[in-house]
Amino acid sequence: MLSCVPSHPLPTAHSLSTQPSTPPAPAQVCEPPAAEPSRFELVVGARALRRGEDVTISYGAWPSEVFLLLFGFVPECPADAVCLFADLADWLAAAAPAALAALGGSEADAAAAEAGLRAHVLSALGCEDAELSRLVVTPVGFDARLMQLGAALDAWVRARGGGAVGMAVVRSRIADCRSAYGRALLQDCRLLEALQRGGALPAEQVKGRG
């Protein structure tokens, strides 16, 4: 069994204490109302606007789901995120088998291992289930809770004579997420450029990852 040991710290995006758990972004977005004529009043402060000058608005920091669903554009936004684990149960479903494998356990031990691991990580992190939903990675780093869960997992496994597996769990999930796209990023970027130009798509650009 391979074990994975972090050789230097990964960047983290936010911590358990500062990031309240939230449901997945699309679940926070209500269906927008039907389009209808609307108007608003623009109040200009001491700095006047010149004719033709762009007026901008700050939408705030949201994942791109929100911008696409509500506003019809997709910005390059550092607040964008990919959810790696929906909640603690999702993480445990990946972490417990990895821990068992590191300890040479059998599938028959899975339920007990998962229950023990769940109690351990909740105690180690000092939080409730509900505080461990939507474990994400963002353009600026990993959700700090993922690192905390990984450290707790490693401690649990090491206490039973096994090697560290916390980072391997994250790495494996990232690999699964990448595979789910079925097509490399570069290929999608080329497709996007072609679509934005309105031109025909070369056949070699539309093949899957292979």
Binding site: L2, S64, L68, F73, V74, P75, C77, D80
Partner: protein, 85 residues
């Protein structure tokens, strides 16, 4: 930290149904295999702009995953078990 945007810029926002469909079907729609889903496309009222936006969305998510993959790969030393030495 916010996202500045010119107010006059507007695009068609997909409905939730369109959004869910686009998330799973963008590659097929783009490469033409979406012809078999033509009924869905028409029923959902999807446009070229919708597909372009969905692909842009998809690229953003993939870029995050690629960076995460690199970060984890560079941060992790894979240690072979003693029995494999």
């Amino acid at each position: 930290m916010g996202t500045d945007r010119v107010l006059s810029h507007s695009n068609p926002s997909p409905t939730r149904a369109q959004f869910e469909y686009l998330q799973s079907q963008v590659p097929e729609l783009v490469n033409g295999a979406g012809a078999s889903n033509g009924g869905d496309v028409a029923e959902l009222g999807l446009t070229h702009a919708h597909v372009t936006l969905a692909l842009q969305f998809r690229c953003g998510k993939q870029a995050i995953l690629e960076a995460a993959h690199s970060a984890v790969t560079n941060a992790v030393t894979t240690v072979a078990p003693a029995s494999a030495a």
